[in-house]
Symmetry: C2
Subunit: 160 residues, 2 copies
């Protein structure tokens, strides 16, 4: 192994590493932009129902879990801070979409419970959201949708 082949080798490796690194940078940028596009698209549609994307997700979470949830857990699930959820729940409660109830077993906890009105609004929101889902149906095969689901789930776990 002469010096020159060594140099050749490392420069070759650097190139590969550089390319991989550039790819990862693109990936992170893409992740950032894709979500922002999705959010503004969904937000635009949800205006008709007078819900923001974040509020929509809170309602969906409450419905999918099927029982009242401590505010801290909601925050964790949406990957935001607790104080944000406190205020979001204020807004949702002001519109009668959720109510605060207290956990008898641990009186520090405040639980958010979805109301009937909240269910109805969330239902309408889900219908509105169908337009966005159509985009996914049209442009991605079932296999590709599964791939995305798998890869993003893993990403979520990695960074949880």
């Amino acid at each position: 192994l002469t010096i020159s082949t060594f140099l050749l080798y490392t420069s070759h490796m650097n190139k590969i590493i550089g390319e991989e690194d550039a790819k990862l940078t693109r990936l992170l940028g893409l992740l950032y932009r894709t979500e922002r596009t999705a959010e503004s698209r969904v937000n635009g549609l949800l205006q008709a129902v007078d819900l923001t994307c974040a509020q929509h997700h809170v309602l969906q979470l409450l419905i999918s879990v099927g029982e009242p949830l401590p505010l801290g857990q909601i925050a964790e699930n949406l990957h935001t801070v607790r104080s944000n959820i406190t205020q979001m729940v204020d807004r949702l409660a002001a519109e009668g979409l959720v109510t605060r109830i207290f956990d008898p077993t641990d009186r520090r906890r405040v639980l958010a419970q979805i109301t009937e009105e909240g269910r109805r609004r969330s239902e309408t929101a889900a219908q509105v959201e169908n337009q966005v889902k159509q985009d996914l149906l049209v442009h991605f095969s079932p296999e590709e949708r599964d791939q995305l689901l798998t890869l993003l789930s893993r990403l979520e776990k990695v960074w949880k």
Copy 2:
């Protein structure tokens, strides 16, 4: 085709459609959460460099394009509104990371130009970001990274 087989058939289809629909809902929720996780992770690391995730992306964009960019184009690229970029560039300019220059060919336009200091900061930020990239390297094979890149690129185009 009797009534009962027809009912069987449609209920079967509904089930499939329902499952697909639930999958798409999960996909959208995942997209939302993954980005938020990524952003808070990157933001946490970038605190050391005193940059936000969004600022980081602006600097990276300016570097990757290699020339001063009209504010409107930056907004479009980050999928945010123009007035937001006006104020972000205010903040970046206050720190000496970019400067405003005027387009002689179209005097309505204001271009953001990255400074030497901006380049240095962005360089440091990129190094800090390496920790996040490591997560991707460790948990995803090269093929999977390519898949993600391809699928997210497509998603970005669809909603552009």
